[in-house]
């Protein structure tokens, strides 16, 4: 009897939560079809019953009388697809390397790099007045090779392994994004002064978002690659097939479900991202979230217009979430979530 009452409570709770999940979505969906009177007269819920639905908000939005809609939509699409592709590709490669090869990095070499990079940067910008982007380039081409060379020597002290490298990638996500977003804004502004424009450009946004998505990709793909049997690869290696080909033609196809799932998660994060877009774009490459935030201030009470804009941003994500939910139910992702 007790067991049954627990089941009943669980059922009620999940139904209540389901309703709570669905209601805001239902609300935004019907509001997009509301004529102005159905908004200003108080809350209305059911089309045809509460109010007569109309398409005027959609027509207004897409005819462009209410500002440019297609611009942000297309930049959102281009930026998020290209950066997701890059992040998943580079992330998978790194994850594969972290699974199949052994890395050892001397802590001292890492510290050496930090000291050389920060110290060199300060000296170059403050004392020699070298522009920031050039100073960073110099740091990259001097401090990095020196540290890599030092890492090859027999240094004393602790040695960091693959898990530490993975943690280094994932830890990028733990930074408050305002720290890196603001720093990146400063850096982009400086490269702009040096003649290479990155603020409010496609390239700048793709770079930022690829780096933003990489930690997820590394973290998720590592788990998927772990379940690929190493024997297949060893057999291919005996046949003298190169690592690159093994990776591209055997490993990637074998972890296709993982690849799809990872891409979707990364895509969702990039599509919804707000802070980087807010700081790094100003007009030409503004993304959808920025457009939405603008709607909020420019037409506070025109709910139908806001709802249409919101729907445009939500619908692709509903597809993604449903697809992922189905994948999970069919057990394709089992073991990937740890």
């Amino acid at each position: 009897m007790r067991r049954e009452s627990f089941r009943k409570a669980g059922f009620l709770l999940s139904m209540f939560w389901l309703l709570l999940c669905i209601f805001p979505l239902w609300w935004v969906l019907v509001t997009a079809f509301k004529p102005p009177l159905a908004v200003s007269g108080g809350a209305t819920y059911l089309p045809f019953w509460d109010f007569q639905p109309s398409l005027h908000a959609f027509r207004d939005a897409f005819s462009g009388i209410r500002g440019d809609f297609w611009g942000p939509i297309s930049s959102s699409i281009f930026i998020s697809i290209v950066s997701t592709g890059l992040a998943v590709l580079l992330g998978s490669m790194a994850a594969y390397a972290l699974i199949r090869f052994k890395f050892s990095i001397h802590l001292l070499a890492g510290l050496l790099f930090a000291v050389l990079a920060i110290g060199g940067f300060v000296v170059m910008t403050e004392m020699w007045n070298i522009r920031v982007p050039y100073a960073l380039l110099v740091v990259l081409f001097v401090a990095l090779p020196v540290s890599v060379w030092a890492n090859g020597r027999n240094l004393p002290g602790p040695v960091l392994g693959n898990d530490d490298v993975t943690f280094w990638f994932v830890s990028q996500r733990m930074f408050p994004p305002i720290v890196s977003a603001f720093a990146l804004f400063l850096l982009y502004a400086e490269t702009g002064k040096a003649g290479f424009r990155l603020l409010d450009t496609f390239g700048g946004m793709v770079l930022a978002y690829t780096a933003f998505g990489l930690p997820f990709a590394v973290w998720l793909m590592r788990d998927f690659f772990e379940s690929v049997p190493v024997e297949v690869e060893e057999a291919a290696m005996v046949d003298d097939i190169g690592r690159m080909r093994i990776f591209a033609q055997i490993v990637l196809p074998m972890s296709l479900p993982g690849l799809i799932a990872t891409s979707m998660v990364v895509l969702a994060f990039i599509w919804n991202e707000f802070l980087f877009a807010l700081l790094l774009t100003s007009s030409r490459w503004q993304t959808l979230p920025i457009l939405l935030a603008g709607q909020n201030s420019s037409r506070g009470d025109e709910w139908w217009a806001i709802s249409v804009a919101t729907l445009i941003s939500i619908i692709p994500m509903i597809l993604v979430a449903t697809f992922l939910g189905r994948m999970m139910r069919s057990g394709m992702l089992s073991g990937s979530i740890k």
Binding site: F121, L136, Q172, N272
Partner: protein, 290 residues
């Protein structure tokens, strides 16, 4: 093994993160010890720890920490409580579970900006459904977004709404990975459902729970989008979170040195909270393990 090829695999990702994420931080770190203004432009001047001292003496900074911590701690606890209950219900296949599995992920895939816009309609003090709901209990036209306490409560509700699915997702995976034999044995011994949960399920899920809560705390501290849309930090600065404070400081006052210093202090706050939490979680897990 042809070890050299590993460099081709890892260097592109490594370089990208280095150049895009870490190099700007080096730059921001040096800027945080200077006074730099864009508007009006003043030449950079080295000021040591002055920026940091100024912020630490600023009541707005502590206010932002308190606001952020309130929102994050309460909403994460709510997310965990609801998320674990829903995951348990789904794990035991309550009727309708299959429908639920497809839809319960939805909120966490929506842009926080969208969620905030929807919430702004729903919590409209006159025209929104929330007002209609509370009117049934005789509470009409509550100042949902214009009273500090109400506004914070609304923000907590939104965070909980959006991120509970994340907890459900991970706890459900955790439940499915628990060894079935233990539960079989418990059932044979006729141990009640509540005791099964208290003595077996919950302790076994504790390490996962600690990790899930940790992720949510770290992510929660970044909150800006919803606050930006919903209240803009107002009324006054009563709902200003750390990220919003940093943004306002940088883009309304154009005081770059100050904002850089602020974002590093923010980093320190997150590290302090994170370390405290991890220490606490370890203690709790150990106590349960005995």
């Amino acid at each position: 093994m042809n070890d050299r090829v590993k460099h081709i695999f890892i260097w592109p990702a490594f370089l990208l993160v280095l150049v895009i994420t870490l190099f700007p931080l080096i730059y921001a770190l040096t800027v945080s010890f200077q006074t730099v203004r864009i508007v009006p432009p003043t030449p950079a001047r080295f000021v040591g720890f002055d920026n940091y001292a100024d912020i630490l003496a600023n009541a707005r900074f502590w206010g932002a920490i308190a606001t952020t911590a309130t929102i994050v701690i309460i909403s994460v606890l709510a997310q965990y409580a609801i998320g674990l209950s829903v995951a348990l219900a789904l794990h035991h296949n309550v009727p309708g579970a299959s429908l639920f599995r497809v839809t319960f992920l939805l909120p966490m895939f929506l842009a926080p900006v969208c969620v905030a816009l929807i919430a702004k309609m729903i919590f409209h003090p006159v025209l929104g459904p929330a007002n209609e709901f509370f009117s049934m209990f005789g509470l009409e036209n509550l100042p949902f977004l214009t009273d500090p306490n109400f506004a914070i409560a609304v923000l907590i509700a939104i965070e909980t709404w959006q991120w509970t699915p994340f907890v459900v997702l991970l706890m459900l995976a955790g439940l499915q990975n628990l060894p079935a034999e233990v539960f079989e044995a418990a059932r044979v011994d006729n141990i009640s459902a509540w005791r099964r949960f208290r003595d077996i399920t919950f302790p076994m899920l504790l390490p996962l729970s600690a990790a899930v809560i940790f992720i949510r705390l770290i992510e929660g501290f970044k909150i800006i989008d919803t606050v930006f849309i919903l209240t803009g930090g107002g009324p006054g600065t009563s709902t200003e979170t750390l990220t919003l404070f940093a943004y306002n400081e940088g883009f309304k006052k154009f005081n770059i040195g100050m904002t850089s210093a602020l974002s590093f202090l923010f980093l320190i706050v997150v590290i302090v909270f994170g370390t405290l939490y991890l220490a606490g979680a370890r203690k709790l897990t150990q106590r349960y393990a005995q």
